[in-house]
Symmetry: C2
């Protein structure tokens, strides 16, 4: 079955390279990852249309990307260590380096000059010139690096799976300055920075609990919270560790996906105390805040991944359950929240819904789509 | 002296129309208002450079603007009722209408399809097609309209100076649906919506206090707070009523400029209780949060307008006092906070500072510059 799906996926739906080189603004563009075929679909948000397919990106399972400050270039972090620079105006890959054997995500510095990649094999962080993709700094680590995030002042934070140690790298001077923040806990599997860059949140796989590091304190202060958080023996099987970039920050709260449970967990940002739980349809994967609203949208791990739910962050109640399509892998909001774009992998479509009426506005063909990334991310710290 | 300054200002510093029509991204562009000459300087944030001057915008004193979702077009609201659509890629005005005798600001709908303008003479709100600037709806009011702000779902909020009444207009259907939220108080002089679109904050001139309207409650709930806020007889003279778009929302607080006093007022967002005051250099005009930081930056009314201060929103302490130039009228941050651009009207320069080192990175010539508007505003609710 898995092989059949992959074979289907490889038959790309018709869409060619960018045919026109007309003058075009970049504020409403985006890229959709076609994970099985190593390709991207360039989309125009205003026209709700696909503009072109860009191929040759490598292994895009669990791929992510980040944008240059002018919203012209995407830096695509493939799973096979490939780092590609995509020009959205030309609709093509303009630079590419296979910089490690296995990598997991990256980030761009706050001034847009440096792109950092988080590597598994060999473990460490490599930093590249955003213009040329030339190697600027190589920071080996004692294991797999995870949770790479940009901090203000040409800095990045990351954690090391094998040792549990958290680091901040400052690349603003002539030489990188690397500072350890100590051991957060056993086997950090992912980490994120809050949208105000105040707090680095680290999820642990090897022990229970979540770690918050207050980056505004000098020196940074580490606090463990949700001390029961994580997998236990008699829980349901964990189909997928949740993505922490799917944590939402809403109404003074963090919203976390329970691990191996069909629940959302709500935590007060100021006190780090749990304030509630919401029973939901399945094991949450992404929990994403709808801008300019009190709502978060949630998708689920296989086999319950045909449903998307909307939850009110004030009452913690599910207010809407949608069944938009098969294998709903990701959701991305228009930056002011008017619509949501959702990937239905097994229907080979990106579905566009109005967030007020919950009506489908349009759909776009894409081959086994997963992550959707709008250029508006360029302006947000931590993305 | 005033006349001399104006005469100096009218002698525009050398800068021509956009000379190249090269392919260009729009995520890092911006416009600087040259108030005395009715012109704009198109700037490139990444290159820290002026690209072109755009002329013929009318009376730009107290002018503001908003951007299309693709970050290609600016809608400029002049004080003389002129509404101009500026194409940043072409560097020129592509549509213009003088739609009222006297207007004060405007907003763009969350889907980018409608532009609304807030008028003094005659009082009311006029709504235009964002593509063509054709009139779509005319909503007369019983007085001057102020504080026009976009709300999700093709809606706008505004208040009426003469009657104190607050309205929400819903333009999502075939006919506009206008709802009164009742009287907020005597002579609202400005209003803003919070960045999550939850709360409409109204400043009053005719009585003391500030009004918060909870738009997420059904029906909306109005609460008056800071009941001593406003001018009293023995206060210092009020050189300038503060702009409420200069209110910052930081660390769970609102930060308000005191009226006629040399103070910032801090209010807890959740309780609406005052939590502190910061003595500052002068009467604050704009208080703007530095993204990805705990800091707000403050400029001051004449005659103390040669100073800009940085205040820590955790301690409420002034942490830095800068004297960047003469008549510092406005500040705009790079969207991820790495640098701040500041207008020095009487030095005819826009000054660019690093927010970490407080060093000047560059300066750009502009004739009597006031407001600076980067295209990243396109993606922010309420701007």
């Amino acid at each position: 079955m898995k092989r059949l799906l992959a074979a289907t996926a490889m038959a790309l739906l018709p869409l060619t390279a960018l045919s026109d080189t007309a003058i075009r603004a970049t504020g409403d563009l985006g890229l959709v990852i076609e994970r099985a075929s190593g390709s991207l679909v360039l989309v125009d948000r205003s026209d709700r249309a696909a503009l072109a397919r860009i191929e040759g990106l490598g292994d895009l399972s669990h791929a992510s990307m980040t944008y240059s400050p002018d919203e012209r270039f995407a830096y695509v972090f493939a799973r096979d260590g490939g780092l590609s620079k995509v020009d959205l105006l030309a609709g093509e890959v303009v630079a590419r380096t296979v910089q490690a054997g296995n990598s997991i995500g990256g980030a761009i510095s706050d001034d847009g000059r440096l792109v950092a990649v988080s590597n598994y094999t060999p473990g460490g962080v490599r930093v590249f010139d955003a213009d040329t993709l030339e190697l600027v700094a190589d920071v080996p680590m004692a294991g797999k690096t995870i949770g790479l995030a940009d901090l203000p002042g040409r800095r990045f934070a990351w954690a090391v799976w094998d040792t549990g140690e958290v680091f901040i790298g400052d690349f603003s001077g002539a030489e990188p300055a690397i500072t350890s923040l100590g051991v957060a806990g056993a086997n950090p599997f992912d980490a994120v920075v809050t949208e105000d860059a105040s707090t680095y949140l680290v999820g642990l796989f090897g022990e229970k609990g979540v770690v918050a590091i207050d980056l505004w304190a000098d020196p940074p202060v580490t606090t463990k919270f949700l001390k029961d958080y994580g997998k236990v023996e008699d829980d349901m099987p964990v189909y997928k560790m949740p993505h922490l970039q799917g944590w939402a920050f809403s109404e003074g709260q963090f919203v976390l996906p329970a691990v191996g449970r069909h629940e959302l967990l709500w935590v007060d940002r100021a006190t780090l105390q749990e304030t509630g739980r919401t029973p939901v349809h399945g094991q949450p994967v992404f929990i994403i805040a709808q801008p300019a609203s009190p709502y978060v949208w949630v998708n689920y791990a296989t086999p319950l991944n045909g449903v998307v739910q909307v939850v009110d962050s004030r009452t913690h109640d599910v207010v809407k359950t949608l069944e938009p399509g098969r294998a709903m892998l990701h959701m991305e909001f228009a930056p002011r929240g008017a619509e949501v774009w959702m990937s239905s992998r097994d229907d080979n479509k990106v579905l566009i819904y109005d967030t007020r009426t919950f009506e489908k506005l349009a759909e776009i063909d894409a081959t086994a789509p997963s992550g959707i990334f709008f250029t508006a991310r360029a302006h947000q710290p931590g993305l």
